[in-house]
Symmetry: C2
Subunit: 253 residues, 2 copies
DNA sequence: TATACACATTAACGTAACGTCAATGTCAAT
DNA sequence: ATTGACATTGACGTTACGTTAATGTGTATA
């Protein structure tokens, strides 16, 4: 039986390019060339190809395969053993690489955590300082020196997890407020939910809660330009909406 | 501090070609080019090179390294983890290869042993048949049917090791005979050594020994053209020399 | 019979990370 | 002026094909 290059390539599952390359490097020549210059292969060539593919599977390079299949009485077993040793060496190398990459990842993560922690501490400190500068007086007047000190202490002792929770809660307040604002009804479900989330936030932030302080604070959000702009940023009127919602919320308590 | 390409290459332990290549692919450009077109590197470039080499040690390719060191806030840890997984996959692949090569070696060795054993059995059978055809009658006359049967049985049950020993011993007889023949003295040390080796050979071959049979056998070597030619092949007269040596040897017993 | 389509060919470039020339220019010391 | 160490660019080689281009062949169909 004779085969064209396509036939063999499909039989063996290799590309025709591969077969031409094998012809080129002399590892597998076609049985003959027909009058049009086409490569024609026979059964024998199929057998040789199978052998080549077998050794290729074992990761031999084509030069070695050529030696193995072309030299009669070539010491195949010796070649296999040598290849085996090379593979062991390769594995050893990869094991070392894996160990080093592991080590590197560990170190980088540790350092990253430390840098994060550092940044977190710095961030907290800066936030308190900023707050002092901006609202120190008002807050002190409203809640007294003691409350401010206690709040700052609590803030500095906050763990990162708590910090993240606080942040998340703050975002949730904003999100819910946005949705609630669309309803236009501070007394509605969403409006009251916003007020409740805000209460939670205050509790986390100040470590204490009173409906009066809550109502006063949100009133301040409206009166003070700096707070108002924070809430009104996306939807003007949000600060007033929040105040109204909280007023209704606190009156129900 | 400024460095020429040679200086940096020696500092970092890489070739100048490597540095030129790194310049070419844009992973490490020199700080400046001087008026003669020489590459001039600074401290910063040394740091970058160290980084490159570090990742190169971990088997990153230069494209990845380029990304890592050139993109600010590139997710290094993620890259490391991905690389780590690739290494694990590579190890997995090598483990499979190692297993398959092991299996192949095992099979090839087993088949080789079997083929050897087969050939060995075939060889023994053929040897006995040949002997029967050539010398069957004479030997039967000399030693009787029983002895021949016993001998053949022993021969067929011979292990390969024994077979090798026998072969070796046979060669040693020939070698020693060759040396002894040069002395021209069958009664001399070498001549008697030859006789003694020949006795051992007979014992192994026939499982039995008698000085008379020994002397008779060597006489036959001389009388029978077919045996004589085997011994006289290289040095004519060797068969007679052996007979004489053995005669002296057996008379001393 | 012209055409369309599958299949064939050779030739060439591209891949990754340099090693290794070759041809040629520069610097410092003698 | 010469020598020797050092610099430059340019180009090929390495492995096992993939991919593309330009072109020829075989066969079925309109």
């Amino acid at each position: 039986m004779e085969y064209t290059i396509k036939a063999i390539s499909q039989l063996a599952g290799v590309s025709t390019r591969t077969l031409r390359y094998y012809d080129e490097i002399g590892i597998l020549k076609p049985a003959r060339i027909n009058s049009s210059g086409y490569r024609i292969y026979g059964e024998k060539e199929i057998d040789i190809l199978q052998q080549i593919l077998f050794y290729r599977e074992l990761d031999f390079n084509l030069d070695s395969i050529k030696e193995i299949i072309q030299s009669p009485n070539f010491d195949e077993i010796n070649a296999l053993k040598q290849h085996y040793n090379e593979l062991l060496a390769k594995r050893q190398r990869i094991d070392t690489l894996i160990y080093n990459v592991e080590k590197t990842i560990f170190n980088k993560e540790r350092r990253l955590k430390m840098r994060d922690e550092e940044k977190f501490q710095g961030f907290k400190k800066k936030l308190i300082e900023d707050n002092e500068k901006k609202y120190g007086e008002e807050v002190r007047e409203e809640y007294g020196e003691e409350a401010v000190k206690r709040s700052n202490e609590q803030f500095m002792n906050m763990t990162k997890q708590q910090y993240n929770e606080l942040n998340e809660l703050g975002n949730k307040v904003l999100e819910t407020l946005k949705e609630a604002y669309k309803t236009g009804n501070p007394a509605g479900e969403l409006g009251q939910k916003t007020a409740d989330l805000h209460r939670k936030w205050i509790t986390l932030c100040w470590g204490d809660y009173s409906p009066e302080a809550h109502a006063n604070l949100t009133q301040m959000y409206v009166d003070d330009e700096r707070f108002r702009s924070y809430y009104d940023k996306e939807q003007p009127g949000s600060a007033e909406f929040l105040r109204d919602a909280v007023k209704i919320y606190t009156e129900k308590i």
